[in-house]
Protein backbone atom coordinates (compact mmCIF):
# COMPACT_ATOMS: atom_id res chain seq x y z
CA UNK A 1 0.00 0.00 0.00
CA UNK A 2 1.19 3.48 -0.73
CA UNK A 3 1.43 6.12 1.94
CA UNK A 4 -1.66 7.81 0.53
CA UNK A 5 -3.64 4.57 0.82
CA UNK A 6 -2.63 4.13 4.44
CA UNK A 7 -3.60 7.70 5.24
CA UNK A 8 -7.02 7.52 3.59
CA UNK A 9 -7.69 4.07 5.05
CA UNK A 10 -6.90 5.24 8.56
CA UNK A 11 -8.92 8.39 7.96
CA UNK A 12 -12.02 6.23 7.42
CA UNK A 13 -11.21 4.04 10.46
CA UNK A 14 -10.64 7.14 12.54
CA UNK A 15 -13.96 8.66 11.49
CA UNK A 16 -15.87 5.50 12.44
CA UNK A 17 -14.12 5.22 15.81
CA UNK A 18 -14.46 8.95 16.30
CA UNK A 19 -18.24 8.85 15.76
CA UNK A 20 -18.62 6.30 18.54
CA UNK A 21 -16.37 8.29 20.86
CA UNK A 22 -18.17 11.52 20.06
CA UNK A 23 -21.65 10.10 20.75
CA UNK A 24 -20.56 8.74 24.12
CA UNK A 25 -18.52 11.83 24.94
CA UNK A 26 -21.58 14.03 24.38
CA UNK A 27 -23.42 12.35 27.25
CA UNK A 28 -20.40 12.74 29.54
CA UNK A 29 -20.08 16.38 28.76
CA UNK A 30 -23.81 17.21 28.99
CA UNK A 31 -24.22 15.50 32.35
CA UNK A 32 -21.03 17.07 33.59
CA UNK A 33 -22.36 20.42 32.39
CA UNK A 34 -25.57 20.35 34.40
CA UNK A 35 -24.64 18.60 37.64
CA UNK A 36 -20.80 18.69 37.56
CA UNK A 37 -20.72 14.93 37.99
CA UNK A 38 -18.31 12.64 36.24
CA UNK A 39 -20.76 9.87 35.47
CA UNK A 40 -18.64 6.71 35.64
CA UNK A 41 -21.69 4.67 34.67
CA UNK A 42 -21.90 6.36 31.28
CA UNK A 43 -19.77 3.79 29.46
CA UNK A 44 -21.96 1.08 30.95
CA UNK A 45 -25.06 2.75 29.55
CA UNK A 46 -23.41 2.37 26.13
CA UNK A 47 -22.99 -1.33 26.94
CA UNK A 48 -26.61 -1.68 28.15
CA UNK A 49 -27.65 0.16 24.97
CA UNK A 50 -25.82 -2.46 22.92
CA UNK A 51 -27.64 -5.28 24.69
CA UNK A 52 -31.08 -3.65 24.55
CA UNK A 53 -30.48 -2.86 20.89
CA UNK A 54 -29.67 -6.53 20.33
CA UNK A 55 -32.83 -7.63 22.16
CA UNK A 56 -34.99 -5.14 20.26
CA UNK A 57 -33.50 -6.27 16.98
CA UNK A 58 -34.29 -9.90 17.81
CA UNK A 59 -37.85 -8.82 18.56
CA UNK A 60 -38.43 -6.82 15.37
CA UNK A 61 -36.23 -8.82 12.97
CA UNK A 62 -39.06 -11.11 11.88
CA UNK A 63 -41.10 -8.11 10.71
CA UNK A 64 -38.55 -5.69 9.28
CA UNK A 65 -35.47 -7.88 8.88
CA UNK A 66 -32.12 -7.19 10.46
CA UNK A 67 -30.61 -4.87 7.89
CA UNK A 68 -30.29 -1.14 8.51
CA UNK A 69 -34.08 -0.43 8.79
CA UNK A 70 -34.36 -3.06 11.53
CA UNK A 71 -31.23 -1.76 13.22
CA UNK A 72 -32.59 1.78 13.21
CA UNK A 73 -35.82 0.65 14.85
CA UNK A 74 -33.84 -1.37 17.41
CA UNK A 75 -31.57 1.62 18.00
CA UNK A 76 -34.56 3.88 18.55
CA UNK A 77 -36.14 1.46 21.06
CA UNK A 78 -32.82 1.04 22.84
CA UNK A 79 -32.35 4.82 23.02
CA UNK A 80 -35.77 5.27 24.66
CA UNK A 81 -35.18 2.44 27.15
CA UNK A 82 -31.63 3.48 28.09
CA UNK A 83 -32.73 7.11 28.29
CA UNK A 84 -35.29 6.06 30.90
CA UNK A 85 -32.65 4.00 32.74
CA UNK A 86 -30.46 7.09 32.81
CA UNK A 87 -33.27 9.18 34.30
CA UNK A 88 -33.98 6.52 36.95
CA UNK A 89 -30.27 6.32 37.86
CA UNK A 90 -30.18 10.06 38.32
CA UNK A 91 -33.31 10.10 40.52
CA UNK A 92 -32.37 7.10 42.64
CA UNK A 93 -28.61 7.34 42.97
CA UNK A 94 -27.31 10.80 42.13
CA UNK A 95 -30.09 13.12 43.18
CA UNK A 96 -29.88 12.34 46.91
CA UNK A 97 -26.10 12.80 46.73
CA UNK A 98 -25.95 16.22 45.07
CA UNK A 99 -25.23 18.00 48.33
CA UNK A 100 -22.84 15.31 49.61
CA UNK A 101 -19.05 15.63 49.37
CA UNK A 102 -17.66 15.06 45.91
CA UNK A 103 -15.89 11.86 46.95
CA UNK A 104 -19.23 10.29 47.95
CA UNK A 105 -20.94 11.05 44.68
CA UNK A 106 -17.97 9.76 42.67
CA UNK A 107 -18.06 6.49 44.60
CA UNK A 108 -21.83 6.30 44.06
CA UNK A 109 -21.28 6.68 40.32
CA UNK A 110 -18.69 3.92 40.44
CA UNK A 111 -21.15 1.71 42.33
CA UNK A 112 -23.84 2.33 39.70
CA UNK A 113 -21.35 1.38 37.00
CA UNK A 114 -20.49 -1.88 38.82
CA UNK A 115 -24.17 -2.72 39.36
CA UNK A 116 -24.90 -2.28 35.63
CA UNK A 117 -21.85 -4.30 34.61
CA UNK A 118 -22.53 -7.13 37.01
CA UNK A 119 -26.23 -7.29 36.19
CA UNK A 120 -25.37 -7.91 32.55
CA UNK A 121 -22.51 -10.22 33.59
CA UNK A 122 -24.84 -12.42 35.61
CA UNK A 123 -27.46 -12.44 32.86
CA UNK A 124 -25.01 -13.37 30.09
CA UNK A 125 -22.54 -15.41 32.10
CA UNK A 126 -19.74 -13.10 30.96
CA UNK A 127 -19.75 -14.53 27.43
CA UNK A 128 -19.57 -12.53 24.23
CA UNK A 129 -22.99 -12.35 22.61
CA UNK A 130 -23.01 -12.49 18.81
CA UNK A 131 -24.90 -9.48 17.41
CA UNK A 132 -26.24 -11.06 14.24
CA UNK A 133 -27.32 -8.76 11.43
CA UNK A 134 -27.89 -9.04 7.72
CA UNK A 135 -25.55 -6.17 6.99
CA UNK A 136 -23.64 -6.86 3.81
CA UNK A 137 -20.02 -6.22 3.05
CA UNK A 138 -20.76 -3.99 0.09
CA UNK A 139 -19.17 -0.63 -0.43
CA UNK A 140 -17.63 1.67 -2.94
CA UNK A 141 -14.10 1.89 -4.23
CA UNK A 142 -12.53 5.30 -4.47
CA UNK A 143 -9.37 4.49 -6.34
CA UNK A 144 -7.70 1.91 -4.14
CA UNK A 145 -9.65 3.00 -1.06
CA UNK A 146 -12.63 0.89 -0.05
CA UNK A 147 -15.38 2.41 2.07
CA UNK A 148 -18.16 0.06 3.17
CA UNK A 149 -21.78 1.17 3.13
CA UNK A 150 -21.94 0.30 6.81
CA UNK A 151 -19.18 2.76 7.61
CA UNK A 152 -20.96 5.46 5.63
CA UNK A 153 -24.34 4.84 7.27
CA UNK A 154 -22.71 4.79 10.69
CA UNK A 155 -20.84 8.06 10.29
CA UNK A 156 -23.90 9.70 8.69
CA UNK A 157 -26.23 8.54 11.49
CA UNK A 158 -23.85 9.87 14.12
CA UNK A 159 -23.67 13.12 12.21
CA UNK A 160 -27.47 13.42 12.07
CA UNK A 161 -27.79 12.71 15.81
CA UNK A 162 -25.17 15.32 16.60
CA UNK A 163 -26.79 17.94 14.37
CA UNK A 164 -30.17 17.19 15.98
CA UNK A 165 -28.63 17.61 19.41
CA UNK A 166 -26.95 20.84 18.38
CA UNK A 167 -30.26 22.24 17.09
CA UNK A 168 -32.04 21.09 20.24
CA UNK A 169 -29.53 22.79 22.50
CA UNK A 170 -29.21 26.02 20.55
CA UNK A 171 -32.72 26.52 19.11
CA UNK A 172 -35.27 25.26 21.62
CA UNK A 173 -36.55 26.54 24.93
CA UNK A 174 -35.39 23.34 26.63
CA UNK A 175 -31.93 23.70 25.19
CA UNK A 176 -31.66 27.27 26.38
CA UNK A 177 -32.77 26.22 29.85
CA UNK A 178 -30.20 23.42 29.79
CA UNK A 179 -27.42 25.84 28.98
CA UNK A 180 -28.63 28.17 31.72
CA UNK A 181 -28.60 25.37 34.30
CA UNK A 182 -25.08 24.39 33.32
CA UNK A 183 -23.90 27.96 33.86
CA UNK A 184 -25.65 28.55 37.20
CA UNK A 185 -28.07 26.07 38.66
CA UNK A 186 -29.28 28.20 41.57
CA UNK A 187 -29.85 31.29 39.46
CA UNK A 188 -31.76 29.25 36.87
CA UNK A 189 -34.01 27.95 39.62
CA UNK A 190 -34.68 31.49 40.82
CA UNK A 191 -35.59 32.53 37.29
CA UNK A 192 -38.31 29.88 37.15
CA UNK A 193 -36.54 27.08 35.27
CA UNK A 194 -37.72 23.68 36.43
CA UNK A 195 -34.22 22.39 37.24
CA UNK A 196 -35.11 18.76 38.11
CA UNK A 197 -36.88 18.41 34.75
CA UNK A 198 -33.90 19.86 32.89
CA UNK A 199 -31.56 17.47 34.71
CA UNK A 200 -33.84 14.55 33.81
CA UNK A 201 -33.97 15.62 30.14
CA UNK A 202 -30.18 15.92 30.09
CA UNK A 203 -29.75 12.42 31.51
CA UNK A 204 -32.30 11.10 29.05
CA UNK A 205 -30.58 12.58 26.00
CA UNK A 206 -27.06 11.74 27.16
CA UNK A 207 -27.97 8.14 27.92
CA UNK A 208 -29.94 7.78 24.68
CA UNK A 209 -26.92 8.94 22.65
CA UNK A 210 -24.74 6.36 24.41
CA UNK A 211 -27.35 3.70 23.60
CA UNK A 212 -27.34 4.74 19.94
CA UNK A 213 -23.56 4.33 19.86
CA UNK A 214 -23.82 0.99 21.70
CA UNK A 215 -26.35 -0.44 19.26
CA UNK A 216 -24.43 0.73 16.21
CA UNK A 217 -21.13 -0.54 17.61
CA UNK A 218 -22.72 -3.92 18.34
CA UNK A 219 -24.11 -4.18 14.83
CA UNK A 220 -20.86 -2.95 13.25
CA UNK A 221 -18.42 -5.13 15.20
CA UNK A 222 -20.82 -8.09 15.47
CA UNK A 223 -20.44 -8.87 19.18
CA UNK A 224 -21.30 -7.38 22.55
CA UNK A 225 -20.26 -8.20 26.13
CA UNK A 226 -20.69 -6.82 29.61
CA UNK A 227 -17.31 -5.12 29.81
CA UNK A 228 -17.46 -3.31 26.46
CA UNK A 229 -18.40 -0.01 28.11
CA UNK A 230 -15.31 0.21 30.27
CA UNK A 231 -12.68 1.16 27.69
CA UNK A 232 -15.01 3.30 25.60
CA UNK A 233 -16.14 5.10 28.76
CA UNK A 234 -12.54 6.01 29.49
CA UNK A 235 -11.87 7.02 25.91
CA UNK A 236 -15.05 9.05 25.59
CA UNK A 237 -14.05 10.84 28.77
CA UNK A 238 -10.68 11.50 27.13
CA UNK A 239 -12.52 12.87 24.10
CA UNK A 240 -14.67 15.10 26.31
CA UNK A 241 -11.55 16.42 28.04
CA UNK A 242 -9.76 17.05 24.73
CA UNK A 243 -12.70 19.11 23.55
CA UNK A 244 -13.15 20.83 26.89
CA UNK A 245 -15.47 19.20 29.38
CA UNK A 246 -18.93 20.78 29.52
CA UNK A 247 -18.71 21.94 25.90
CA UNK A 248 -21.02 20.14 23.46
CA UNK A 249 -19.18 21.07 20.23
CA UNK A 250 -16.00 20.23 22.14
CA UNK A 251 -17.17 16.66 22.75
CA UNK A 252 -17.91 16.15 19.05
CA UNK A 253 -14.55 17.61 18.06
CA UNK A 254 -12.72 15.69 20.80
CA UNK A 255 -14.32 12.41 19.73
CA UNK A 256 -13.24 12.85 16.14
CA UNK A 257 -9.74 13.96 17.12
CA UNK A 258 -9.28 10.97 19.44
CA UNK A 259 -10.64 8.54 16.85
CA UNK A 260 -8.21 9.88 14.23
CA UNK A 261 -5.30 10.03 16.70
CA UNK A 262 -5.90 6.41 17.60
CA UNK A 263 -6.24 5.27 13.99
CA UNK A 264 -3.03 7.01 12.98
CA UNK A 265 -1.31 6.12 16.28
CA UNK A 266 -1.35 2.47 15.22
CA UNK A 267 0.75 3.44 12.19
CA UNK A 268 3.62 4.95 14.17
CA UNK A 269 6.65 2.66 13.80
CA UNK A 270 7.53 0.57 16.89
CA UNK A 271 4.20 1.34 18.58
CA UNK A 272 1.80 -1.01 16.86
CA UNK A 273 -1.79 -1.78 17.59
CA UNK A 274 -1.27 -3.54 20.94
CA UNK A 275 -0.29 -0.15 22.37
CA UNK A 276 -3.40 1.55 20.95
CA UNK A 277 -5.16 1.81 24.32
CA UNK A 278 -2.08 2.97 26.18
CA UNK A 279 -1.74 5.64 23.52
CA UNK A 280 -5.15 7.17 24.22
CA UNK A 281 -4.58 7.21 28.00
CA UNK A 282 -1.26 8.91 27.43
CA UNK A 283 -3.13 11.51 25.35
CA UNK A 284 -5.60 11.97 28.23
CA UNK A 285 -2.85 12.54 30.78
CA UNK A 286 -0.96 14.90 28.47
CA UNK A 287 -4.08 16.99 27.78
CA UNK A 288 -4.92 17.18 31.49
CA UNK A 289 -1.39 18.27 32.30
CA UNK A 290 -0.87 20.70 29.45
CA UNK A 291 -4.33 22.12 28.80
CA UNK A 292 -6.89 20.89 31.32
CA UNK A 293 -9.59 23.17 29.92
CA UNK A 294 -9.40 21.41 26.57
CA UNK A 295 -9.76 22.98 23.14
CA UNK A 296 -13.16 24.63 23.56
CA UNK A 297 -13.67 24.57 27.32
CA UNK A 298 -13.73 27.39 29.80
CA UNK A 299 -11.62 27.41 32.95
CA UNK A 300 -13.61 26.63 36.02
CA UNK A 301 -13.30 26.61 39.78
CA UNK A 302 -13.82 23.40 41.66
CA UNK A 303 -17.22 23.08 43.33
CA UNK A 304 -17.03 23.46 47.07
Amino acid sequence: MSVFDIISHQLVNGLVLGSFYALVALGYTMIFGVIKLLNFAHGDLYMVGGFLGFLSLSAVASVVGSDWPGIFIAMFLSMIAVGCIGVVIERVAYHPMLAAPRLSILITALAVSLVLQNTVLSLTGGQYTAFKTDLGFGGINLGSLFISYNQMVLVATSGVLMIALHLFVTRTQFGRAMRAVSIDMDMSQLLGINVPVIIAVTFFIGSALAAAAGTMAGAYYGSIWYFMGFLIGLKAFTAAVIGGIGSIPGAMLGGLILGLLEAFGTQIPFIGSEWKDVFSFAVLILVLVLKPTGLLGKSEQERM
Binding site: V112, L114, S122, L234, E274, L284, L288, P292
Partner: protein, 325 residues
Amino acid sequence: MTPRDTASDRLRDRIAARFESPALRWGGIGLILVLMAVLPAALGQYATVIMTNALLYVVLALGLNVVVGFAGLLDLGYAAFFAVGAYTIGILTLDFGVNFWLALPVAVLAAAIAGVIIGGPTLRLRSDYLAIVTLGFGEIVRFSARNLAITGKASGLSGIGQPWLFGWHIATPTDFYFVFCALAILAVVVSLRLENSRLGRAWLYVRHDEDVAEAMGINRVAVKLAAYVTGAIFAAIGGAFFAANLGAISPESFSFTQSVLILMAVILGGMGKIPGVILGAFIVILGPELLRNLGELRLMVFAVMLLLIMLFRPSGIWPKRGVRS
Protein backbone atom coordinates in the same frame (compact mmCIF):
# COMPACT_ATOMS: atom_id res chain seq x y z
CA MET B 1 -27.31 13.43 54.10
CA THR B 2 -28.90 14.38 57.35
CA PRO B 3 -27.12 13.22 60.49
CA ARG B 4 -28.95 10.41 62.20
CA ASP B 5 -28.50 9.17 65.72
CA THR B 6 -29.98 5.73 65.47
CA ALA B 7 -30.27 3.13 68.18
CA SER B 8 -27.42 1.17 66.59
CA ASP B 9 -25.18 4.23 66.73
CA ARG B 10 -25.92 4.73 70.43
CA LEU B 11 -25.32 1.06 71.13
CA ARG B 12 -22.02 1.21 69.31
CA ASP B 13 -20.96 4.27 71.30
CA ARG B 14 -21.83 2.49 74.56
CA ILE B 15 -19.83 -0.58 73.57
CA ALA B 16 -16.95 1.58 72.44
CA ALA B 17 -17.01 3.47 75.72
CA ARG B 18 -16.47 0.18 77.57
CA PHE B 19 -13.22 -0.30 75.64
CA GLU B 20 -11.85 3.06 76.67
CA SER B 21 -10.08 1.54 79.66
CA PRO B 22 -6.42 0.72 78.89
CA ALA B 23 -6.58 -2.70 80.56
CA LEU B 24 -9.43 -3.86 78.34
CA ARG B 25 -7.85 -2.38 75.24
CA TRP B 26 -4.48 -4.08 75.80
CA GLY B 27 -6.31 -7.23 76.75
CA GLY B 28 -8.21 -7.09 73.46
CA ILE B 29 -5.04 -6.48 71.46
CA GLY B 30 -3.33 -9.38 73.29
CA LEU B 31 -6.27 -11.65 72.54
CA ILE B 32 -6.17 -10.77 68.84
CA LEU B 33 -2.42 -11.46 68.72
CA VAL B 34 -2.87 -14.84 70.41
CA LEU B 35 -5.67 -15.75 68.00
CA MET B 36 -3.49 -14.73 65.05
CA ALA B 37 -0.64 -16.88 66.37
CA VAL B 38 -2.66 -20.07 66.88
CA LEU B 39 -4.80 -19.76 63.73
CA PRO B 40 -2.67 -21.92 61.37
CA ALA B 41 -2.48 -24.75 63.90
CA ALA B 42 -6.16 -24.50 64.74
CA LEU B 43 -7.79 -24.13 61.32
CA GLY B 44 -5.50 -25.94 58.91
CA GLN B 45 -3.80 -24.97 55.67
CA TYR B 46 -6.79 -23.88 53.57
CA ALA B 47 -7.93 -21.34 56.18
CA THR B 48 -4.33 -20.18 56.58
CA VAL B 49 -4.03 -19.41 52.86
CA ILE B 50 -7.33 -17.50 52.88
CA MET B 51 -6.27 -15.57 55.97
CA THR B 52 -2.94 -14.72 54.32
CA ASN B 53 -4.89 -13.23 51.42
CA ALA B 54 -7.13 -11.31 53.84
CA LEU B 55 -4.06 -9.91 55.61
CA LEU B 56 -2.59 -8.84 52.25
CA TYR B 57 -5.86 -7.00 51.66
CA VAL B 58 -5.57 -5.38 55.09
CA VAL B 59 -2.20 -3.94 54.02
CA LEU B 60 -3.50 -2.80 50.63
CA ALA B 61 -6.74 -1.38 52.03
CA LEU B 62 -4.89 0.50 54.76
CA GLY B 63 -2.61 1.95 52.08
CA LEU B 64 -5.53 3.03 49.92
CA ASN B 65 -7.20 4.36 53.05
CA VAL B 66 -4.39 6.91 53.38
CA VAL B 67 -5.31 8.23 49.92
CA VAL B 68 -9.11 7.91 50.04
CA GLY B 69 -9.90 7.99 53.75
CA PHE B 70 -7.29 10.39 55.09
CA ALA B 71 -6.70 12.73 52.16
CA GLY B 72 -10.12 12.32 50.47
CA LEU B 73 -8.76 11.56 46.96
CA LEU B 74 -10.39 8.91 44.81
CA ASP B 75 -7.81 6.51 43.37
CA LEU B 76 -9.24 4.00 40.87
CA GLY B 77 -5.91 2.57 39.74
CA TYR B 78 -4.43 1.54 43.05
CA ALA B 79 -3.60 -1.95 41.75
CA ALA B 80 -1.00 -0.28 39.52
CA PHE B 81 1.26 0.39 42.52
CA PHE B 82 0.67 -3.13 43.74
CA ALA B 83 1.81 -4.26 40.26
CA VAL B 84 4.88 -2.01 40.33
CA GLY B 85 5.96 -3.60 43.61
CA ALA B 86 5.35 -7.16 42.45
CA TYR B 87 6.96 -6.76 39.02
CA THR B 88 10.00 -4.92 40.39
CA ILE B 89 10.66 -7.84 42.73
CA GLY B 90 10.03 -10.33 39.93
CA ILE B 91 12.31 -8.63 37.41
CA LEU B 92 15.14 -7.86 39.85
CA THR B 93 15.26 -11.30 41.46
CA LEU B 94 14.75 -13.30 38.25
CA ASP B 95 16.62 -11.32 35.59
CA PHE B 96 19.30 -9.70 37.69
CA GLY B 97 19.67 -12.20 40.53
CA VAL B 98 19.23 -9.49 43.15
CA ASN B 99 18.47 -10.62 46.72
CA PHE B 100 14.81 -10.14 47.73
CA TRP B 101 15.70 -7.83 50.62
CA LEU B 102 17.80 -5.62 48.36
CA ALA B 103 15.08 -5.60 45.71
CA LEU B 104 12.42 -4.59 48.26
CA PRO B 105 13.63 -1.00 48.77
CA VAL B 106 13.99 -0.65 44.99
CA ALA B 107 10.36 -1.78 44.60
CA VAL B 108 9.26 0.78 47.19
CA LEU B 109 11.28 3.48 45.48
CA ALA B 110 9.86 2.57 42.07
CA ALA B 111 6.29 2.80 43.38
CA ALA B 112 7.02 6.12 45.09
CA ILE B 113 8.47 7.52 41.86
CA ALA B 114 5.44 6.26 39.93
CA GLY B 115 3.26 8.00 42.51
CA VAL B 116 5.08 11.29 42.02
CA ILE B 117 5.01 11.02 38.22
CA ILE B 118 1.29 10.34 38.07
CA GLY B 119 0.20 12.40 41.08
CA GLY B 120 2.48 15.41 40.60
CA PRO B 121 0.80 16.90 37.55
CA THR B 122 -2.76 15.76 38.26
CA LEU B 123 -3.17 16.59 41.94
CA ARG B 124 -3.47 20.25 41.02
CA LEU B 125 -6.57 19.48 38.98
CA ARG B 126 -10.16 18.83 39.95
CA SER B 127 -10.46 15.81 42.22
CA ASP B 128 -12.59 13.83 39.77
CA TYR B 129 -9.95 14.25 37.06
CA LEU B 130 -7.55 12.55 39.43
CA ALA B 131 -9.95 9.63 39.72
CA ILE B 132 -10.08 9.07 35.99
CA VAL B 133 -6.36 9.68 35.46
CA THR B 134 -5.59 7.04 38.10
CA LEU B 135 -7.98 4.71 36.30
CA GLY B 136 -6.12 5.36 33.04
CA PHE B 137 -2.78 4.90 34.79
CA GLY B 138 -3.91 1.55 36.19
CA GLU B 139 -4.77 0.41 32.69
CA ILE B 140 -1.49 1.74 31.24
CA VAL B 141 0.48 -0.29 33.80
CA ARG B 142 -1.53 -3.44 33.08
CA PHE B 143 -1.29 -3.03 29.30
CA SER B 144 2.44 -2.39 29.57
CA ALA B 145 2.90 -5.51 31.70
CA ARG B 146 1.03 -7.44 29.06
CA ASN B 147 2.98 -6.05 26.10
CA LEU B 148 6.56 -5.78 27.35
CA ALA B 149 9.04 -8.62 27.06
CA ILE B 150 10.69 -7.83 30.41
CA THR B 151 7.42 -8.40 32.29
CA GLY B 152 6.82 -11.72 30.52
CA LYS B 153 3.90 -10.42 28.41
CA ALA B 154 0.51 -12.01 29.04
CA SER B 155 1.88 -15.07 30.84
CA GLY B 156 3.70 -12.94 33.41
CA LEU B 157 6.68 -13.98 35.49
CA SER B 158 7.10 -17.27 37.28
CA GLY B 159 9.71 -18.93 39.46
CA ILE B 160 10.15 -15.95 41.77
CA GLY B 161 12.22 -17.26 44.70
CA GLN B 162 11.17 -17.34 48.32
CA PRO B 163 13.26 -15.09 50.54
CA TRP B 164 15.46 -16.04 53.50
CA LEU B 165 15.34 -14.02 56.69
CA PHE B 166 18.29 -14.54 59.07
CA GLY B 167 18.49 -18.23 58.26
CA TRP B 168 14.70 -18.69 58.15
CA HIS B 169 13.57 -19.80 54.71
CA ILE B 170 10.12 -18.28 54.24
CA ALA B 171 8.64 -21.09 52.20
CA THR B 172 5.48 -22.74 53.53
CA PRO B 173 2.02 -21.13 53.50
CA THR B 174 2.26 -20.88 57.30
CA ASP B 175 5.57 -18.98 57.03
CA PHE B 176 3.98 -16.51 54.65
CA TYR B 177 0.94 -16.24 56.91
CA PHE B 178 3.19 -15.03 59.72
CA VAL B 179 5.03 -12.65 57.38
CA PHE B 180 1.70 -11.12 56.34
CA CYS B 181 0.62 -10.95 60.00
CA ALA B 182 3.73 -8.88 60.66
CA LEU B 183 3.08 -6.69 57.61
CA ALA B 184 -0.55 -6.11 58.61
CA ILE B 185 0.45 -5.16 62.15
CA LEU B 186 3.11 -2.84 60.74
CA ALA B 187 0.53 -1.29 58.41
CA VAL B 188 -1.88 -0.72 61.31
CA VAL B 189 0.82 0.86 63.48
CA VAL B 190 2.06 3.11 60.65
CA SER B 191 -1.54 4.11 59.82
CA LEU B 192 -2.26 4.99 63.45
CA ARG B 193 0.96 7.00 63.74
CA LEU B 194 0.24 8.80 60.46
CA GLU B 195 -3.32 9.60 61.47
CA ASN B 196 -2.17 11.32 64.64
CA SER B 197 0.79 13.08 63.05
CA ARG B 198 1.11 16.64 61.84
CA LEU B 199 0.69 15.29 58.30
CA GLY B 200 -2.41 13.34 59.34
CA ARG B 201 -4.03 16.50 60.68
CA ALA B 202 -3.11 18.30 57.45
CA TRP B 203 -4.85 15.54 55.47
CA LEU B 204 -7.95 15.88 57.65
CA TYR B 205 -7.92 19.60 57.04
CA VAL B 206 -7.47 19.29 53.28
CA ARG B 207 -10.20 16.66 53.12
CA HIS B 208 -12.70 18.86 54.90
CA ASP B 209 -11.94 22.16 53.24
CA GLU B 210 -9.13 22.54 50.77
CA ASP B 211 -9.33 26.29 50.45
CA VAL B 212 -9.37 27.01 54.16
CA ALA B 213 -6.52 24.53 54.61
CA GLU B 214 -4.50 26.39 52.04
CA ALA B 215 -5.32 29.71 53.64
CA MET B 216 -3.98 28.30 56.91
CA GLY B 217 -0.63 27.69 55.27
CA ILE B 218 -0.95 24.03 54.31
CA ASN B 219 0.64 23.24 50.97
CA ARG B 220 -2.34 21.52 49.40
CA VAL B 221 -0.52 19.81 46.54
CA ALA B 222 2.43 18.66 48.65
CA VAL B 223 0.15 17.19 51.31
CA LYS B 224 -1.94 15.33 48.72
CA LEU B 225 1.19 14.08 47.00
CA ALA B 226 2.45 12.78 50.35
CA ALA B 227 -0.78 10.79 50.76
CA TYR B 228 -0.53 9.47 47.25
CA VAL B 229 3.08 8.36 47.64
CA THR B 230 2.41 6.83 51.09
CA GLY B 231 -0.41 4.77 49.58
CA ALA B 232 1.89 3.69 46.74
CA ILE B 233 4.52 2.52 49.24
CA PHE B 234 2.01 0.36 51.16
CA ALA B 235 0.91 -1.22 47.87
CA ALA B 236 4.49 -1.84 46.72
CA ILE B 237 5.39 -3.66 49.94
CA GLY B 238 2.20 -5.72 49.69
CA GLY B 239 2.99 -6.47 46.03
CA ALA B 240 6.58 -7.49 46.78
CA PHE B 241 5.53 -10.10 49.34
CA PHE B 242 2.59 -11.14 47.16
CA ALA B 243 5.06 -11.95 44.36
CA ALA B 244 7.35 -13.86 46.74
CA ASN B 245 4.40 -15.78 48.20
CA LEU B 246 2.85 -16.92 44.93
CA GLY B 247 6.12 -17.24 43.02
CA ALA B 248 4.24 -16.22 39.86
CA ILE B 249 2.52 -13.01 38.79
CA SER B 250 0.52 -12.13 35.70
CA PRO B 251 -1.07 -8.91 34.43
CA GLU B 252 -4.57 -10.08 35.31
CA SER B 253 -3.76 -9.98 39.04
CA PHE B 254 -3.62 -6.20 38.69
CA SER B 255 -6.84 -5.51 36.82
CA PHE B 256 -9.39 -2.77 37.39
CA THR B 257 -11.45 -5.28 39.40
CA GLN B 258 -8.56 -5.62 41.81
CA SER B 259 -8.45 -1.83 42.32
CA VAL B 260 -12.21 -1.81 42.84
CA LEU B 261 -12.11 -4.63 45.40
CA ILE B 262 -9.46 -2.79 47.43
CA LEU B 263 -11.54 0.38 47.22
CA MET B 264 -14.60 -1.56 48.38
CA ALA B 265 -12.69 -2.81 51.40
CA VAL B 266 -11.94 0.81 52.31
CA ILE B 267 -15.48 2.08 51.80
CA LEU B 268 -17.54 -0.83 53.14
CA GLY B 269 -15.90 -0.70 56.54
CA GLY B 270 -15.73 3.04 56.83
CA MET B 271 -13.33 5.40 55.11
CA GLY B 272 -10.62 6.82 57.32
CA LYS B 273 -11.35 4.57 60.29
CA ILE B 274 -8.62 1.97 60.72
CA PRO B 275 -10.68 -0.82 62.39
CA GLY B 276 -13.42 -0.23 59.80
CA VAL B 277 -10.96 -0.64 56.93
CA ILE B 278 -9.61 -3.87 58.45
CA LEU B 279 -13.18 -5.14 58.79
CA GLY B 280 -13.80 -4.15 55.15
CA ALA B 281 -10.74 -6.11 53.97
CA PHE B 282 -11.96 -9.21 55.80
CA ILE B 283 -15.49 -8.80 54.37
CA VAL B 284 -14.14 -8.52 50.82
CA ILE B 285 -11.97 -11.65 51.14
CA LEU B 286 -13.90 -13.85 53.56
CA GLY B 287 -17.37 -12.90 52.25
CA PRO B 288 -17.00 -14.83 48.97
CA GLU B 289 -15.62 -17.83 50.90
CA LEU B 290 -18.72 -17.90 53.07
CA LEU B 291 -21.04 -17.33 50.09
CA ARG B 292 -19.38 -19.86 47.79
CA ASN B 293 -22.52 -20.76 45.85
CA LEU B 294 -22.98 -17.15 44.72
CA GLY B 295 -20.36 -17.62 42.01
CA GLU B 296 -20.46 -14.75 39.57
CA LEU B 297 -22.95 -12.81 41.67
CA ARG B 298 -20.16 -12.18 44.19
CA LEU B 299 -19.16 -8.80 42.73
CA MET B 300 -22.82 -7.95 42.18
CA VAL B 301 -23.49 -8.35 45.90
CA PHE B 302 -20.54 -6.08 46.70
CA ALA B 303 -21.64 -3.52 44.11
CA VAL B 304 -25.17 -3.34 45.50
CA MET B 305 -23.78 -3.15 49.05
CA LEU B 306 -21.52 -0.31 47.97
CA LEU B 307 -24.43 1.58 46.43
CA LEU B 308 -26.65 1.06 49.47
CA ILE B 309 -23.87 2.12 51.82
CA MET B 310 -23.22 5.30 49.85
CA LEU B 311 -26.92 6.15 49.82
CA PHE B 312 -27.90 5.24 53.35
CA ARG B 313 -24.77 5.05 55.47
CA PRO B 314 -22.02 7.01 53.71
CA SER B 315 -19.60 6.70 56.61
CA GLY B 316 -19.44 2.88 56.36
CA ILE B 317 -20.38 -0.08 58.52
CA TRP B 318 -18.03 0.85 61.34
CA PRO B 319 -17.46 4.57 61.01
CA LYS B 320 -15.45 6.90 63.15
CA ARG B 321 -17.17 7.79 66.38
CA GLY B 322 -18.55 11.27 66.54
CA VAL B 323 -18.22 11.76 62.77
CA ARG B 324 -21.57 10.93 61.21
CA SER B 325 -21.71 11.44 57.47
